[in-house]
Amino acid sequence: MKRRSFLKFSATVTGLGLAAGARPGAAAGIASPAAGQATGPLLPSLDAMRRIGRLHLDARPDEIDAARALRTRIDAAGGLDRVVLRRVLGEDMRRNLDQHDVVTIEGWVLPRALVRVCAAVAVA
């Protein structure tokens, strides 16, 4: 994954939005973590999620069945809708990070729940 697309991705996954900061450079997108966290975890684009999911399943083909099962649940809950995905992920991501339950994809350290949902998005 290109660094530039991950920059956007990082801003959404970590909940760091664009906000005014006290220092010069705020206009360039400096935000305080507290302000960013208040927006809650958002999601990368579906294309980015598919890419992450494919990379994960390439490395862990044994998780394809679990990904398919999760995809079935997501479809039953309303499909690949961002609101639904956010509901599926929400607390799980926060809990993963609290417990350091992370997965690395191409070196990027990501909460496991996010990677699982990405894998679900990636399976057709």
Partner: protein, 528 residues
């Protein structure tokens, strides 16, 4: 007083109470601690006051195993020793560094943190450091809110530094003035001679490069030649016991350790200035601090890993920061700056950042920051403890130096625990950066590689430890808790070669603390 073996009559015999071999931080600290007492001290130094290529060449040797620095570049052989190229980054080891850890083979010191605490307090000013300050006080002084790391996983520790203390310059005059201390320059110890049973040292044999000889007899002998040379001297002194002095259990030279330094990964953040403020180096007066992130003791135990710390590095391309630093230096030096017009133009172009940096420097006394858009990368570099490994070792080769002493081969090796520590620490760092909203961390590919390979950039810190390790049991270590060589009643070792494990921090402050403790031990023994 200072004298030079080249000026003495060849074949002289010198007699003293305590003979210290090596005038680096350990040897000089010991001599300073004994200055002004009734104990006669002879401090032997291979070199003179300045770097001399022929003397430095005596350090030449081979390296095998992991790539390592040229051995003639990894240390300095003249008065002041390796402090001559020391950056003076220090801190104290903490409780876990001394304890036996079930998950770290061969760990555990025979002494604890409390044994060294009073000596750390005395060592700090010798190394140019202020008194020890708690973390919270340092953060307050830096005017920075630390990232709220979860102590179940990660903790902070600070590296401290001051203007480098060159021991050879800082303590030359006091040693010259000390009536009971004699420093003998160009005195190369080529043999440690013991009695026929190997139970006591009877003399040291000295030579100059010009061929003069001398012998030293003393009540006590202290080897303070550094983590590689201490082992070499013991191994090469094999006229009585073929395996060398103090080596009945084949431990001398083994367990060589370094601190493993490499880039763990980079962080992507939309608040790079906060990252740099928190983790950049900051001077407060004459005392500098850099925040490091280490795995907490609870996490080390839970994850069964070593002690590891990381520090931040960043690269920036901003012309304004460079220009301002150059202008400041020129004005400070009393010169009208070169290219003043161009310099001012660079600053005017970056006026907002310039104004903020002036505020930081002049009002808060904090370092300047780069423009966020000029940042190229914010990386984190690990500074890892290495697991004691008997196969990581210093041995002698068939090559000989100008005195006929066998040269060394350094075979530096790491193990599975070292690599696993790096990986676990990187993941914990990434998880905490995400959890706290600081950014997303990308781990370098070599870290995730489950083979034993390291990155091509991996290097040590010029920290040579473990080759004459300390242990209560002679089968586990070369010296005991008082730094006395097991089985050799009047031979002691000072320096990081006695460290059983190396912690995650630079060794010099602990080297000096141990040297002061050994000096007290010899004083007590003399009084008894």
């Amino acid at each position: 007083m200072f004298s030079d073996l080249r000026d003495l009559e060849s074949g002289s015999t010198l007699e003293t109470d305590v003979c210290i071999v090596g005038a680096g931080p350990a040897g000089i600290s010991m001599a300073m601690a004994l200055a002004g007492t009734r104990t006669r001290v002879l401090l032997l130094e291979s070199g003179g006051f300045e770097f001399e290529p022929d003397t430095q060449d005596l350090y030449d040797g081979e390296t095998a195993g992991l790539p390592y620095f040229d051995l003639t570049a990894a240390r300095l052989r003249y008065f002041g020793g390796t402090s001559g190229h020391w950056d003076n980054w220090c801190n104290q080891m903490t409780g876990i560094d001394f304890r036996r850890r079930d998950w770290v083979p061969h760990s555990g010191w025979p002494i604890g943190e409390s044994d060294l605490e009073p000596y750390y307090a005395r060592a700090r000013p010798i190394c140019g450091l202020d008194r020890h300050r708690p973390l919270e006080a340092i953060w307050n002084s830096l005017r920075v809110d630390p990232l709220p790391l979860d102590p179940a996983h990660l903790d902070y520790r600070f590296w401290e530094f001051a203007g480098p203390v060159r021991f050879g310059e800082a303590y030359r005059q006091p040693l010259k003035d000390a009536p009971n201390v004699r420093v003998l320059l160009h005195a190369n110890v080529v043999n440690v001679q013991t009695d026929p049973e190997g139970g006591a040292v009877t003399r040291l044999d000295l030579r100059t490069l010009e061929g003069k000889t001398a012998t030293v007899t003393a009540q006590s002998y202290v080897l303070a030649c550094g983590g590689i040379e201490n082992a070499r001297l013991l191994l090469a002194s094999n006229s009585v016991e073929s395996t060398g002095v103090g080596n009945r259990h084949d431990l001398v030279g083994r367990y060589f350790q370094e601190h493993i330094l490499d880039v763990l990964g980079t962080v992507v953040t939309d608040d790079p200035l906060a990252m740099i403020e928190r983790f950049g180096s900051t001077w407060l007066g004459k005392h500098g601090y850099t925040a490091g992130i280490m795995m907490s003791e609870a996490a080390q135990e839970r994850e069964q890993v070593l002690n590891c710390s990381v520090m931040m590095r960043y690269s920036a391309s901003g012309d304004a920061v460079k220009t301002m630093k150059r202008l400041q230096n020129q004005v400070k030096a009393g010169r009208l700056p070169d290219n003043l017009a161009a310099g001012v133009w660079n600053i005017v172009q970056d006026l907002d950042m310039f104004a903020y940096n002036v505020y930081r420097r002049k009002m808060l006394g904090l370092p300047v920051l780069p423009k966020p858009e000029d940042l190229q990368a914010i990386s984190f570099v690990c500074h890892n403890e290495q697991a004691p490994n008997p196969d990581s070792r210093v041995t002698l080769t068939g090559d000989r130096d100008r005195f006929g002493m066998q040269r060394v081969r350094l075979d530096w090796r790491t193990g599975e625990l070292d690599k696993r520590t790096v990986m676990r620490h990187a993941r914990a760092l990434g998880a905490e950066f995400s959890r706290t909203g600081a950014g997303i961390f990308r781990i370098e590919p070599w870290v995730e590689d489950e083979s034993m390979s390291w990155s091509p950039r991996m290097e040590g810190g010029y920290h040579h430890m473990g080759t004459t390790r300390m242990a209560a049991d002679p089968r586990q270590g070369v010296v005991d808790g008082d730094c006395q060589v097991h089985g050799v009643r009047n031979l002691y070792i000072a320096g990081s070669s006695v460290f059983p494990t190396g912690g995650n921090i630079n060794p010099t402050l602990t080297i000096v603390a141990l040297a002061l403790r050994l000096a007290d031990h010899l004083k007590d023994a003399d009084a008894a």
